[in-house]
């Protein structure tokens, strides 16, 4: 039953032998912005911290601003927003299916959340229909979510529709949540940007970009043609092995990546992009670290 979760856990623990799980586990706390009266510890001030959190007495003693940290006690809801349209059945940058990368991202973060006692929920869907799994905090819940993430996207599924998913979230949820958006390299167009601005007001957003496959092979004649899931267009053989085109494609991919990064930065959305399953755990660690300093 819980085969997918086992898979995630094994990745999580095997891949991060070096204290990473500890770090992930510890830094997960920084995900949570809520405060309780339970004092935890002090840390140095970072830009963006709230002034009322400064412990003035400690700061006077220390010589530099210190921030009081409280243990979060509120039960939070971590809602994963995952595209399960046919785009996610396509190949990722590392050669794995993008849904497997999405699965590992959702699984790892979801596992930490569940272990932390928070609720996890899932919003998923495609161009035809957007659905959700309501919040709950159990491994069975997580497994159910993973199952959806893993089985829904096929090449025959409906087209991907990220704006649809985001507007669903904007429409349906009234509560403040932590949103983890798992998307592929869909360009963030003005419509999505607008939705993100709207959602950012209400929620805490994390963005995981699953990198798309390299479309220009470095050797001639691919054995199997690459076919676009969106329209069935097979990439013509003659582009493979074309070094100039390959370089141009790589440059375009880099500029797309950096423009997405700067856009998300300007929206104050923490983000990572992962190209393969191996990238996921280190990527999440980086994401949580970044948040720790930012908050």
């Amino acid at each position: 039953m819980s085969s997918l979760l086992v898979r995630v856990k094994s990745k999580l623990f095997i891949q991060s032998r070096r204290k990473a799980v500890h770090l992930l586990d510890g830094e997960y706390g920084s995900l949570i912005r809520g405060r309780s009266m339970d004092f935890d510890d002090l840390r140095e001030y970072e830009a963006g911290d709230e002034v009322r959190d400064i412990d003035w007495k400690a700061t006077a003693r220390h010589g530099a601003p210190l921030i009081k940290r409280y243990r979060a006690s509120r039960r939070h809801t971590v809602t994963f927003v995952v595209d399960t349209g046919r785009n996610m059945a396509a190949q990722g940058l590392g050669g794995e299916s993008k849904r497997d990368i999405a699965l590992l991202s959702v699984g790892a973060l979801g596992f930490l959340s569940v272990r932390h006692g928070d609720d996890v929920a899932l919003v998923y869907g495609d161009g035809d229909r957007v659905q959700r799994i309501p919040p709950a905090s159990s491994e069975a819940q997580l497994e159910r979510m993973l199952r959806v993430v893993h089985t829904r996207p096929t090449v025959t599924s409906a087209r991907s529709d990220l704006p649809g998913l985001l507007s669903y979230v904007a429409r349906v949820f009234a509560r403040r949540m932590i949103l983890v958006i798992v998307a592929d390299e869909t360009p963030i167009d003005p419509a999505i940007e607008k939705l993100l601005r709207r959602l950012h007001v209400q929620h805490d957003i994390l963005w995981v970009t699953v990198r798309d496959a390299d479309l220009v092979s470095d050797h001639r004649a691919a054995d199997v043609p690459l076919v676009d899931v969106a329209n069935g267009w097979a990439i013509p053989d003659f582009v493979h092995g074309n070094e100039d085109l390959r370089a141009e494609f790589a440059a375009a991919a880099r500029s797309l990546e950096s423009s997405r990064a700067s856009l998300l930065d300007s929206l104050e959305i923490s983000h990572i992009s992962v190209g393969s399953e191996d990238d996921v755990i280190p990527g999440l660690l980086r994401l949580l670290e970044r948040r720790m300093y930012a908050r």
Partner: protein, 321 residues
């Protein structure tokens, strides 16, 4: 024929068209690795130029392929070129008709020597040797066995030189009554020719001093007329020519009657030169009319076929169809 060819071409084009459609339909549900956001590739300007280059390549393959097929059909049609040739006929029959009376051996030796040299260059010519004094003797008949001719001529020449161990040149030449019966000799020589229905050049090289003693069966004039009737030209060589001598005049007239030529031999004239003149004249008279000859001339076609074929394969390889 043209209609059949056109129909075949139309059929091939239609076949290609439908095959392409079929393949295209299959490509609509193409199986392969699923990827997303192919617009990342399609929006690249480099992709557009790659497509254009590819189209250019495919067009080039098509054009070069058609050119190659055209060249192949051109070569297959056996292109030929006409050329005008003046065939040099070598179907000459020459009878050496040598008077072997006492005063003639020197001339005879020269004639034999000359022909020994000429034989080396012969191909197709036939040659015969008749010796006569008071009676004609055929040493060998008309033959193109040049080895044999050389052998016989050598023997006769040696015999003229005074070496009689092997062969006595005069044996059988004195059976008539008299000496130098040139009328009989010429007639006998003129009768050596065979295959009179065939178009060959027939000539007699007739060397004699024209000093007739005794009664010949055939007069010189009669013999000349017979030769003329047979289509035989007689070339006369006279070592003791004298314009005032009626005998010499008669000899000349007889020879010229047949269409041949008369050569007075004087100390300065070499027999070889005369023989060269005769054979050259014979060759000229035999040079046939200019004929138009059609011969296969595929070289240029094959060159272009190879070039277009190689270009086709190289392009095919470059374009990776």
């Amino acid at each position: 024929m043209l209609a059949v060819g056109g129909g075949l071409i139309l059929l091939a084009v239609l076949c290609g068209f439908f095959l392409g459609l079929l393949r295209n339909r299959k490509a609509g549900a193409a199986e392969g690795l699923a990827v997303a956001h192919s617009e990342r590739l399609r929006s690249l300007p480099g992709f557009g130029s790659a497509i254009r280059r590819y189209r250019l390549g495919v067009g080039g393959v098509l054009v070069v392929g058609i050119l190659a097929v055209m060249m192949a059909s051109y070569v297959a049609a056996r292109p030929s070129a006409s050329s005008t040739v003046k065939p040099v006929n070598t179907n000459r029959d020459i009878v050496l008709c040598l008077d072997v009376s006492g005063s003639m051996t020197e001339v005879d030796t020269e004639v034999a020597d000359t022909f020994l040299k000429l034989v080396k260059g012969f191909s197709g010519e036939r040659i015969s040797l008749v010796l006569f004094n008071s009676s004609p003797v055929q040493v060998f008949p008309l033959t193109d066995d040049y080895h044999f001719v050389t052998e016989q001529l050598t023997r006769v020449r040696d015999s003229f030189d005074g070496n009689y161990d092997d062969f006595d040149y005069w044996v059988g030449t004195s059976n008539g009554r008299g000496a130098s019966l040139i009328g009989d000799g010429l007639a006998a020589c003129a009768m050596r020719f065979d295959h009179l229905d065939k178009e060959r050049s027939r000539s007699v090289i007739f060397a004699t001093d024209n000093e007739v003693y005794g009664d010949s069966i055939v007069e010189l004039k009669e013999a000349a007329e017979y030769a003329k009737a047979q289509g035989v030209k007689v070339y006369g060589l006279n070592p003791i020519d004298n314009d005032d001598d009626p005998k010499s005049v008669a000899f000349r007239e007889a020879v010229e009657l047949t269409g041949g030529k008369y050569f007075p031999l004087r100390s300065t004239t070499a027999v070889s030169d005369i023989v060269d003149t005769i054979t050259a004249e014979e060759a000229t008279s035999l040079t046939g009319e200019a004929r138009v000859v059609w011969a296969d001339d595929p070289n240029l076609g094959i060159l272009f076929l190879s070039l277009t074929g190689i270009a086709f394969i190289v392009l095919l390889w470059r374009v990776r169809l």
